[in-house]
């Protein structure tokens, strides 16, 4: 049994799906962020797998950008959450943030 890129890519797709579904079903904003991280990691796996099967280095280089972006996003996202918590103590539940609607 040869380890082809299909395994990795299928795995990545599954991971991506878990992340996406997790994003949809969790109400805790922090956990939602973590789910986004799962999705980004799935993308990373995809890039690396393609890099391998295409024998192309750029796939690996791209992962660096994803990492940086993920880090920046987390920083800003957590800052927003902190700002919200500053204003009002309580659970970090996304559903409670619904002043704006309609």
């Amino acid at each position: 049994m040869k380890l082809t890129d299909t395994y990795f890519l299928t795995f990545a797709a599954m991971l991506f799906t878990i992340g996406a579904v997790g994003f949809l079903v969790r109400r805790n904003v922090l956990v939602m962020f973590m789910c986004v991280e799962l999705m980004l990691n799935a993308v990373n796996v995809t890039f690396v797998a393609f890099s391998k099967s295409l024998n192309d280095i750029s796939g690996q280089a791209i992962v660096f950008f994803v990492l940086v972006v993920a880090a920046a996003e987390v920083a800003v996202g957590l800052a927003i959450i902190v700002a919200i918590f500053r204003r009002r103590r309580g659970g970090a539940t996304a559903d409670d943030i619904d002043l704006l609607r309609g």
Binding site: L24, R27, A94, D95, L100, G102
Partner: protein, 696 residues
């Protein structure tokens, strides 16, 4: 005077209608300032001047050789579009000349009469403006050189009829009657317009000249269509059966109006049109039969209704309808000159009757119910004499004018072989003698029922008020004001005044004879009613009118007496019938009326009386149809279909969008996870499309 001079002279025929038109314009703008008697004199004077000029025209025409007695003068091009060119032109030929003489002559007399009759009316000036405008329109109608110009006059007289019937606009019945008159006429105009369209389609021109030259060669079916459509217009204008309902109501107008428009001139425009458009009728043949039969039936039915009417003017109105029927009988059997003859004679005696009736009404404080009058010849000697002469004339008592005219018509019908028409016409003759006898006897003979002493109840209300408040609502009122109609449920019957038992009114003082301006015209007209028969006696040498009209109807078949004996027999039969009619009337009404008892004739006729009195329930039927289903359907169209369906569809779509917007807005819950669902859903759909792409 040479022929060319005569033609030049005839080219000035436009002056005839221009004179009264000038009067109309002057009086319309300055009538109020010019004042009460003077406006009347101006109007009368101008029309009389037109009469003088008409006589000049007549003379000029006589100066032409017989076969070229027609002259067209085109003032300017009225309408030029596509292949159609219509000039505003006037055609002078024997037919139109006769008619303008009639209109200006009788018109002047009635104008004169109106000066007295309308005296002290606040809108005196306006009345004469309308009156003059009517004369002008009527003159345009008869002088027209094409159908379209005739139509101009045709509508013009309709307009004036509307204005004059509704002259006393504050009277609800008057305004309603005016609307009814105009609308009913318009129904006829429907036919006129369609006929014109057909003519343009078939001949490419509306000129009478084109008609004369081409009608004979056109398809018979087209000719029939045109003729019947034109006859529809005539039915409307001349109040023949079907569209007659406006004429009795039109009696709401001032009496001179009834005399001029609704007896002498306008209503005969239909007859004029049939004569003028004779080439079509002749080409069709079938159409002529229709005209004759229609006329005969009208003559008979209107006569039956006239028999039981209690209103002095309504009797005359139904009588007019009936007489118009005769005229169509004549035209329908091809006896055009007889028709024209009848028109003339009828104008004289019917104008006399109407003016006489006007004097009666005027002199008795607006009393119009013949059952409340009686014995008036004592108080109104001149009017009485004139009225009686006219009665004799209309009944066909020889040798008065009416006899000759009626005889000419009936004989023509007989000779034409149309025995049905002849028989119907003959029975109508009896009816005429009866109802006119009834009216004359009830008004001028017998006991005086108007006097307070005779009055049983001694009611105090004046007649006008009674008319205003308790009179049955006319047709159109039922349509426009159902709620008001319901207020008088008990009397919400159609226009026919019938059935209310005599309830004598109070009259202060004795009836007054009219002033001189009123008496003189009546007497002159009565004179004509006696002697007008001289115009066209049925003796070959004395058929002046027939001979004069000959060029117009040249080439058409004319019913001629087969022998002198047959003519004589017909005459005798007619006289006998007239005698019977008068005798019955005298037997019934000779002694007047017992005001506490119902009108004897209704009793005698029984069920028929009610049928006649309600004008064969035709008015009721029309009222019910227009006021009932038609009104309901219209209301439904307006309130349900337009507002709910059409507008509802528009607003409904708008509403749907708004509802959709509200619902879609609800999806926006403010929950960020649900927004993410939207994104994923979009992803799913896009990928699904991708699958379709790759798989397909």
């Amino acid at each position: 005077m040479s022929a060319i001079d005569a033609n030049d002279l005839l080219n000035t025929i436009w002056i005839v209608p221009a004179l009264p038109l000038l009067g109309a314009i002057v009086l319309l703008f300055g009538g109020r300032r010019i004042g009460d008697p003077r406006s009347g004199w101006i109007a009368t004077g101008l029309l009389f001047a037109a009469f003088i000029w008409s006589v000049v025209m007549f003379a000029a025409l006589l100066n032409l050789p017989e076969e070229s007695r027609h002259n067209t003068v085109n003032l300017f091009t009225w309408l030029e579009a596509g292949a159609l060119k219509v000039d505003l032109g006037f055609l002078a030929d024997p037919l139109s000349i006769i008619w303008i003489l009639l209109v200006t002559g009788v018109g002047s007399l009635i104008h004169l009469y109106a000066i007295g009759y309308m005296h002290t009316d606040p809108n005196f000036g306006r009345f004469f403006a309308y009156f003059n405008l009517f004369a002008a329109s009527m003159l345009v109608l008869v002088l027209a050189s094409s159908f379209l110009v005739t139509f101009l006059g045709w509508e013009g007289v309709g307009l004036c009829s509307y204005l004059l019937v509704g002259f006393w606009s504050e009277r609800r019945r008057a305004s309603t009657a005016s609307v009814k008159a105009f609308v009913t006429n318009r129904v006829g105009d429907f036919g006129f317009m369609l006929a014109m369209f057909f003519i343009v389609g078939a001949l490419g021109s509306l000129d009478y000249a084109a008609m004369s030259s081409k009608a004979a060669g056109m398809a018979q079916s087209t000719a029939t269509a045109i003729a019947l459509l034109l006859f529809l217009a005539c039915i409307g204008k001349s109040a023949q059966i079907g569209l007659h309902i406006w004429l009795p109501d039109a009696m709401e107008g001032p009496t001179p109006v009834s005399a001029l428009i609704h007896a002498a001139t306008m209503v005969t425009a239909g007859v004029f049109l049939v004569c003028r458009a004779a080439p079509f009728f002749e080409r069709s043949g079938d159409a002529m039969t229709v005209v004759a039969v229609f006329g005969a039936i009208t003559a008979l039915l209107a006569g039956t209704v006239a028999l039981v009417q209690p209103d002095i003017k309504r009797v005359l109105a139904y009588s007019t309808i009936s007489q118009l029927g005769y005229m169509f009988v004549a035209a329908g059997v091809g006896a055009y000159s007889a028709a024209v003859f009848f028109v003339l004679v009828h104008a004289f005696y019917k104008a006399t009757l109407f003016l006489g009736a006007g004097t009666v009404i005027h002199g008795t404080d607006d009393e119009q119910d013949i059952r409340h009058l009686g014995g008036l010849r004592k108080y109104l000697p001149f009017t009485g004499v004139a009225f009686i002469i006219a009665w004799m004339s209309i009944s066909g008592v020889p040798p008065l004018a009416g006899f000759w005219a009626k005889d000419a018509v009936l004989a023509s019908a007989f000779y034409a072989g149309n025995y049905f028409v002849y028989a119907v016409g003959l029975s109508a003759v009896a009816l005429t003698a009866m109802y006119m006898g009834r009216e004359t006897l009830l008004v001028f003979f017998g006991n005086e029922r108007f006097h307070p002493a005779v009055s049983a109840a001694g009611a105090t209300a004046s007649t006008t008020q009674v008319l205003e408040t308790t009179a049955p609502e006319p047709l159109v009122a039922v349509v426009t004001e159902p709620q008001r109609a319901h207020e008088h449920d008990a009397t919400a019957s159609p226009t026919v005044d019938f059935g209310t038992d005599p309830s004598p009114e109070h009259l202060s003082g004795n009836p007054q004879e009219g002033t001189r301006v009123m008496i003189v015209p009546v007497l002159i007209l009565a004179t004509f009613a006696i002697f007008a028969g001289l115009l066209d006696l049925p003796f070959t040498k004395l058929e002046f009118l027939n001979a004069f009209l000959e060029p117009v109807f040249a080439g058409f078949y004319t019913p001629e007496p087969t022998s002198f004996v047959s003519a004589l027999i017909l005459d005798v039969v007619a006289v006998l019938v007239v005698g019977i009619g008068i005798w019955i009337a005298y037997k019934t009404y000779g002694k007047g009326l017992d005001s506490t008892k119902p009108d004897p004739i209704t009793k005698r006729l029984g069920r028929l009386g009610r049928l006649f009195g309600n004008a064969w329930y035709y008015d009721k039927f029309v009222s019910a149809a227009v006021g009932g289903p038609i009104r309901k359907a219209s209301q439904w169209l307006s309130d349900v279909f337009d507002l709910k369906v059409i507008d509802g569809a528009v607003n409904g779509v708008a509403h749907l969008v708004v509802v959709a917007a509200r619902n879609m807005r609800r999806i926006q819950t403010g929950l960020v996870r649900q927004y993410a669902i939207g994104i994923v859903l979009g992803t799913v759909l896009l990928l699904l499309y991708a699958l379709a792409l790759v798989g397909g």
